[in-house]
Amino acid sequence: MLEIENLAAGYGEALVLRDFSCRIAPGKVTALMGRNGMGKTTLMKTIMGLIRVKSGRIMFDGTAIEKLPTHHISRIGMGYVPQGREIFADFTVAENLRLSLLGHEGGNVLPIEQIYDWFPILKERAEQRAGTFSGGQQQILAIARALIGGPKMLLLDEPTEGIQPSIVHDIGAQLSRIARETGLSILIVEQNVDMVRTLADEVLFMENGAIQERCDIETLRQDDSLLHRYLSV
């Protein structure tokens, strides 16, 4: 689905990722874990074309995307839920969703009813300004906004950051269901172990701009030494 080879990227002269390589299998939920500052968000932004690639290549579903503009990457099926959600606070919920529909016009978009079916709260509050939402509701909106464009793969950057634990679980369960139903591939950057255990099939551990270890979720459930090694400060 997503193959990254010898990627180098960063801000200005400073490279955050050097010679980064990894493969994300189709139809699975892959979690990317690691301490802060290890390059996870940089990786997500680089995949989306928001940070310029210095060298290396990124293949997505058979297309080289490392030189494509962001909107093009989005249109060929890469959904992105950025860190901090970045919803349009002044717009209504419906307008936030409409934006994504307009951005993917002519593509493989989902009917809005499907989105409302998955996330009924968005239907109830369609005309409410998104800025009045709680953190968890904004996160749901950000996910729905990415899904409505009919992505083949979804990038989620720290979706549980600053959100009540009860909603975290709901979001995890719902995403898991959607992934199973639709065959959507997900790459999720996450610090919250519960979320990873609910959702992920496979876990990658990142340190110093490279993948250090990968394991499946069963291994992680039985043995949490990897978590200690890569997450504890």
């Binding site: 928001l50 503009p69 909107h71 249109r75 970045e86 349009f88 409409r98 951005g103 464009g149």
Partner: protein
């Protein structure tokens, strides 16, 4: 009382034209962070389209239709050849468009000569209501300006294009990751902004003297209107234009044009300094 009404109408029509010019500037500035110093020259070229149309014997309305098309097309060329290369260097856009304004001004001097031209009024009469009399074209001009301003507001607040544009202004990266082609939005917003300037120039041509230096007289008040009103919400332009244009015109009538200009610039600078986000709020320059 009856002497006051024509003054109020004169002031209002000046404000409306200023708002039209400022709206185009603001679309470009608010959206791309680009300061277009050649905006006044695009306005001037709009007026010269009317001069050319008159020389060619074309009807007035043809000029009004041609002006935004020609100037908008010029905007498209400018965006593709110049602005596109310096989006990420906002201060350089000031300088580059300044060079452009010099070149455009001189191009007009070379084509039409340095002297001023006049465009005949398309309708000659006055509106007479008892003791009150006011030139008909000025009333038409005001109505047209109000329609245009309203239309621009409608475009940016009620349509899908407006939704996309506001999204690109608020969060360009997020908009792009939703599949929105931000560069394309920039381009068309720039074209709309320049076409508005051209149309404003064409509309106002019959009531002013058209000369190659006229742009600056609208550029600076236009910018001051934006900064005074606030570069965030569109309504800021209305307030800013009313303050800058209103004070300027009223003082010009009551004291002298020179005192008016000096006073209004100083008032505007004071407001911008003391309230950098503008009267109506919004973001500051990058």
């Amino acid at each position: 009382m009856s002497e006051l009404i024509p003054i109020i109408l004169d002031v209002s029509s000046y404000i409306l034209i200023l708002v039209l010019v400022a709206l185009g500037l603001m679309i470009v500035f608010g959206m791309m962070g680009v300061i277009n110093m050649a905006h006044g020259e695009l306005f001037m070229i709009g007026a010269y389209v009317m001069v050319a149309a008159q020389n060619l014997g074309l009807p007035f309305l043809a000029g009004i239709i041609l002006a935004p098309i020609i100037v908008g097309f010029l905007g498209l060329l400018i965006e593709a050849a110049l602005i596109r290369h310096i989006y990420l260097r906002p201060l350089d856009t000031i300088l580059a468009t300044w060079g452009l304004s010099i070149a455009l001004k001189q191009l007009v001097v070379l084509t039409f000569g340095p002297e001023s031209h006049s465009v005949a009024l398309p309708v000659d009469g006055s509106l007479e209501l008892g003791a009150f009399s006011y030139p008909l074209y000025r009333l038409i001009l005001m109505a047209a300006s109000i329609l245009l301003i309203g239309g621009t507001f409608w475009l940016f607040t009620r349509t899908d294009f407006g939704l996309l544009a506001r999204a690109v202004i608020a969060r360009p990266n997020t908009a792009a990751s939703l599949g929105i082609d931000t560069r394309r939005m920039y381009r068309w917003s720039f074209v709309i902004g320049t076409a508005l300037a051209g149309l404003a120039g064409a509309l106002v041509a019959p009531i002013i003297s058209v000369d190659p230096q006229m742009g600056l007289g609208y550029l600076v008040p236009g910018f001051l209107s934006i900064l005074v009103g606030g570069a965030g919400p569109l309504a800021g332009v209305l307030v800013g234009g009313a303050v800058v244009g209103g004070v300027n015109n009223l003082l010009a009538v009551w004291i002298s044009p020179v005192a008016a200009l000096i006073t209004v610039y100083i008032i505007a600078i004071l407001i911008i300094r003391l309230k950098p986000e503008g009267i109506m709020g919004g973001r500051r320059a990058k």
